[in-house]
Symmetry: C2
Subunit: 398 residues, 2 copies
Amino acid sequence: MTTSKFSKQEFLSILQSVLGKSGGAPIALHEPNIGELEHELVAKCLNSGWVSSVGEYINEFEQGLANFTKSKHAIAVVNGTAALHLALHTVGVKPDDEVLVPTLSFVATANAVAHCGAIPHFVDSNLETLGLDPVALREHLRATASLRNGVLHNSKTGRKISAVVPMHTFGHPMQIEKLLEVAAEFNLTVVEDAAESIGSFVGMVHTGTFGRCGTLSFNGNKTITTGGGGAILTDDDELAQRIRHLATTAKLPHDYEYIHDAVAFNYRMPNINAALGCAQLNRLGDFLAAKRLLAEKYATAFRDVSSMSFIGEPGGTTSNYWLNTIRLKNPNLAQRDELLVAARESGYLCRPAWNLLHTLPMYEDSPRADLTNAQKLWCSLINIPSSARHYLGQHSAS
Amino acid sequence: MTTSKFSKQEFLSILQSVLGKSGGAPIALHEPNIGELEHELVAKCLNSGWVSSVGEYINEFEQGLANFTKSKHAIAVVNGTAALHLALHTVGVKPDDEVLVPTLSFVATANAVAHCGAIPHFVDSNLETLGLDPVALREHLRATASLRNGVLHNSKTGRKISAVVPMHTFGHPMQIEKLLEVAAEFNLTVVEDAAESIGSFVGMVHTGTFGRCGTLSFNGNKTITTGGGGAILTDDDELAQRIRHLATTAKLPHDYEYIHDAVAFNYRMPNINAALGCAQLNRLGDFLAAKRLLAEKYATAFRDVSSMSFIGEPGGTTSNYWLNTIRLKNPNLAQRDELLVAARESGYLCRPAWNLLHTLPMYEDSPRADLTNAQKLWCSLINIPSSARHYLGQHSAS
């Protein structure tokens, strides 16, 4: 265990050099940054009396998201899970369909599929991007699925495979353009889970805007927060209108009558949360700059470490570095946990990747591809503290 | 149309006498009342940085709800629809079950059933309480359903009927004790939809605490608001724990690992919404007093009107008078609409009851009982402006 002991000291000393000494309270993995503008807009919202499902801040927040992501439409909802569920439902995922999702993801990705009555079908990750591997997916589908009358079927289960949900892991863009090619080959609808990647781009194009639609999350641990919240991005006018309709109980416009024309949801983001979101969105550029600076510090500090490496943004992409991540060069669960625990004991709240979704009891019977790379990643990834506050306001002086 | 013309003038003159002249902006049906305490607690929440799914206000709001309703547990969630969906899911409503719901209700009551994959089975309302009629329900079930091994089945569809969802319409308590007897006879689980009835009691017992569990809503149009929000009430420790678990992605407690043991939801109320709720709950007593005073004014004003009557709380109950309601003595859709439109044109935003759920396209094939009374009610009910503000602070001086 000498190597491990050495690694542990090196790891802790890097955390301290980049983040400073942990004082009384531990340094969080990621925490919101709430300032004067947030207070101002939320107070204005309270003064207006419009705190609920209708109000100017919802419109402003949606417009701001659309502008920032260059998406034609953004529809704000109660959280990222609701966004993904509603997106999958609206693009036509039906009960008993299978939907391809990376096993290396937060559980919401699979739950949103299950909320449609559909079955997650787990696929492998790319070792470099940490996202769904399009090449492995193509091989898997060529070997185990077939198109009949333009509809993809799982040859083993006989079920329709209707959609694929790539996720931009920890903010690093996955190979979305390659995935679009694979999706076209197999006639799959692409719904991008960009819950973690607001501010992440492939070239100049924002993540979440490549597929039929994409989803964002504004949970408290995300780059910007609305308390709880999410959004759906799409360029498709008709789809956007349908999503908006289904997010608000499918009520038909009428001066006073209550007529609804579909089984629908109560998923609209309240105006008070949107007011918070407007302020956060206004500061997103500063957060991204501070997070990039933090990532640069980490990258430099980990450069010459022999046992672990810092994961940078994939070539041709810009990551928001939502959660900074290191990788053990030799995947080893025991060592991962030793480092994690040591860091936590020293006041740095590190975290492993999520337990792989196909290993969770409710999904252990779900169909799956070979998941070797995801297994390796799970044993070797550690998220390290990533809040914007560590370098906020310092990027212009750096 | 002479009668109608006379009724119209009488109606408008009563609205004006009780609410005052409508000025530039129309008088809303029900609007939130946001004061200093709301500003104070929300600002404190923002200062704390804990705006998302964990925080002291969530705990405080839940404890406050539990104290007020004398329910052992209250679990705060994102809205009333989510509350009802999660309640039905957790008590064991399964796909293809039927769930008995009043056709005279907001669409969320039926949607929550559909979100479980179950089928709403519509039943009739009582002309006095406006809620589900337990006597009619008993007759309907005796004639059309049968118990086999303790499980109720619809004789026509063959499906299991697993639960019944009584709703306290416009805040007026329905005959919940009689319903509990019927539910016991047919082995039905009772989930109370108390979305509209915070502050409404049967005797000394709060609505929503009679069934296996009950649900509340804090939408912007409700007696108190959290922007968007809801809660589940239950005295059952195990059920409460399960609901809380399933509301938060079924994540098992662990220092750092992400292990989830069921398909679950992201339904937890954010702390910023709970902060607003804590302030509102603190003022609930004042709101209820003001609303009761308004209802008394209406009751007096409508006492001698020949064509319509004001609906008071059922005997033995205390209503929160969420939405004050008048009834045309002769149910007549055309007259209802004439009065509604006239009131709206004069700046009083009145509203009809919801279109009956069994008439909506997505539910038109759902099983149903005889719905004669609900039809009568639909043609004769008009909700009239009910905000607390009209008499807030005047009850002690009255």
